[in-house]
């Protein structure tokens, strides 16, 4: 019996995974798993994860995985890459970890053009703590810390664009969406190849769903993601 088309690098005993129904993390991680299988790098890589919902992936793969602190996965992964240049080093984090508490480390790693791959999942809020405003919260968006859509008059954070700007296009920067898994897969492939080919820092922001904290049904979840894709343009922003 064909059990599934699950990636081979999945840790089977931890499935079904710990993410909420409808969460975009499972789709992103499955896509990443397919890329890891395709490149046959599961034994040559270290997967670093941040705090927030991403930490639930600490035993997601049969792959060396290190769960770190909030906003700190980038320096840990950088340290691993520094000490072991042949290791494929991938950091996985949320928008709060990357664009708020860990922004300083993210930007400096990009500025140094560290040869690591960073995958950042953007769902416009802090999922693990119950849906508070994040740097990516859109104007007028209702979250548990922006009741009625107030306190959201600032611009949502444009991460890949910022990194592209400060690295003068040297880094690979892209945005994809769980609404288009083929495109997401291609960008994760490119971002990992960027590291393997020694071209430097590679960053993919993934637009993702959080129906639990968005308080949306299926239809409204898809509409929310469509709206996100209008605010955060999907595409390759920069590469050399």
């Amino acid at each position: 019996m064909k059990t599934s088309n699950f990636p081979k690098c999945y840790k089977k005993e931890t499935k079904p995974n710990k993410f909420c129904p409808g969460c975009g993390h499972s789709l992103t991680l499955k896509t990443l798993g397919q890329v890891i299988d395709g490149f046959e790098i599961s034994k040559k890589m270290v997967f670093g994860i941040d705090i927030g919902c991403s930490l639930l992936a600490w035993d997601f793969f049969d792959i060396d995985t290190v769960q770190t602190h909030h906003g700190r996965v980038v320096p840990v992964i950088k340290g691993i890459k520094m000490a072991s240049p042949k290791t494929v080093a991938i950091a996985y984090m949320g928008d709060g970890g990357g664009y708020a508490i860990g922004l300083q480390s993210l930007l400096h790693s990009a500025k140094r053009n560290d040869p690591i791959t960073v995958i950042l999942v953007n769902n416009t809020l802090y999922g693990m703590t119950g849906g508070q405003k994040a740097p990516t919260t859109m104007k007028g968006e209702v979250t548990s810390s922006t009741p009625g859509g107030v306190f959201t008059d600032d611009e949502p954070f444009m991460g890949p664009e910022l990194i592209n700007h400060i690295t003068k296009g040297k880094a690979y920067t892209a945005r994809a969406s769980v609404g288009n898994l083929f495109d997401l897969k291609r960008k994760i492939q490119e971002a990992i190849m960027y590291q393997i080919n020694g071209k430097g820092f590679a960053f993919v922001e993934v637009l993702s769903m959080c129906p639990l904290n968005w308080k949306t049904d299926v239809k409204n979840t898809i509409e929310f993601l469509d709206k996100m894709e209008k605010v955060f343009p999907v595409g390759v922003i920069g590469k050399s």
Partner: protein, 351 residues
């Protein structure tokens, strides 16, 4: 079997000595952020790394990142370390807490400076509590307190050995007086260092975490740490007992204040005062048994430190219920203590 040690005398500053000690202990990677009074350790290592491609160096964007990058290096199997001070020590607690939780060997030199906040930049003994207990945990850390330049060298080497042997975050708690003093020191390259080892890419699949979803699961995990810490303590804890045999007054001091006290004790002895020094070399694990033994025949205790009782609190906790002899305090937060300060204090209370 006695280990043959090749000794050679050098004239160097404390900060230069620390760098040499790290190299002699097999350190391969340093990540740090400039902060007085430990900046020369960072620049000193940078100079070494510029000449030796086997040495890794990164000047990070802050101390938090320095500590986490060190952790990355350690995970990948390098002997990685850092150095910081004061406000940097505060930021360093984020990564050190992770090292404590995941039992990762790390070495961090602390050059204590005056606090709270930015304070002063050269000297204090006010980072005792922060260094011992800085995380949101139980302080499962090894902390050495060197009192001389030679000890700075010897204890830095010991710190690397202890860290990789016992897998607790390990600190060398110095200060800017020590770091910036020029003096002579014997280097001895030990033939064998405790080897480093990778925690990832080591032939197994490692899923490493510091998060737990069930309280009892974390508790079980911590119980193992406590057990290991207690077992390690008897091998690691160290102290100096100086002229204690017939001492009626026992002065407790650590670090450079310990050196000042030693001079004071010598002077007082010449004048006939029966005084001795108890100096813990490890502030964690603390030499508790020896502390209790030290006061057995004493009539009074003096606790001397350049802080407002951070060290005194440890001593008094160990001695609680053991003795009711008077405890005299010579607390001078963020200022130096000279031998004459101790001589005067001992004379006053011996009247």
């Amino acid at each position: 079997m006695a280990v043959k040690v090749k000794a050679k005398k050098y004239l160097l500053t404390g900060n230069e000595i620390i760098v040499q000690a790290a190299l002699d202990a097999g350190a391969e990677m340093f990540c740090g952020y400039p902060i007085t009074p430990t900046t020369e350790i960072l620049t000193g290592w940078a100079e070494k790394a510029a000449k030796d491609k086997n040495l890794l160096f990164l000047q990070t964007e802050d101390e938090t990142s320095a500590g986490f990058t060190v952790i990355g290096g350690v995970l990948a199997g390098k002997k990685a370390w850092t150095a910081t001070a004061g406000p940097g020590n505060i930021l360093m607690q984020d990564p050190m807490s992770m090292a404590e939780a995941m039992r990762l060997p790390t070495v961090c030199y602390i050059g204590q400076r005056g606090g709270p906040s930015t304070g002063t930049v050269i000297y204090s003994q006010q980072e005792v509590t922060l260094t011992r207990f800085g995380g949101n945990g139980e302080g499962m850390r090894i902390v050495y307190s060197p009192s001389t330049l030679q000890e700075l060298y010897d204890l830095t080497i010991k710190a690397f050995e202890a860290a990789w042997k016992y897998r607790f975050p390990t600190f060398v708690l110095g200060d800017g007086y020590l770091g910036k003093t020029l003096g002579d020191v014997d280097f001895h390259k030990k033939p064998k260092n405790y080897a480093s080892y990778p925690f990832v890419q080591n032939g197994e699949i490692n899923n490493l975490r510091n998060t737990f979803s069930i309280e009892e699961e974390l508790y079980d995990n911590l119980k193992d740490h406590f057990k290991d810490f207690t077992e390690m303590s008897k091998d690691v804890s160290e102290c100096e007992e100086f002229m204690l045999k017939d001492a009626q007054t026992v002065v407790f001091a650590h670090g450079v204040v310990g050196s000042a006290t030693k001079m004071a004790v010598r002077e007082l002895r010449e004048e006939g005062y029966r005084v001795g020094l108890f100096r813990p070399i490890t502030l964690s694990p603390f030499p508790s048994k020896e502390t209790i033994r030290a006061v057995k025949r004493a009539k009074r205790i003096v606790i001397a430190e350049s802080s407002y009782g951070q060290f005194g609190r440890i001593v008094r906790e160990v001695l609680y219920g053991v003795t009711d002899i008077p405890v005299h305090r010579l607390y001078r937060p963020a200022v130096g203590i000279m031998p004459e300060d101790i001589v005067e204090k001992v004379k006053n209370i011996s009247k």
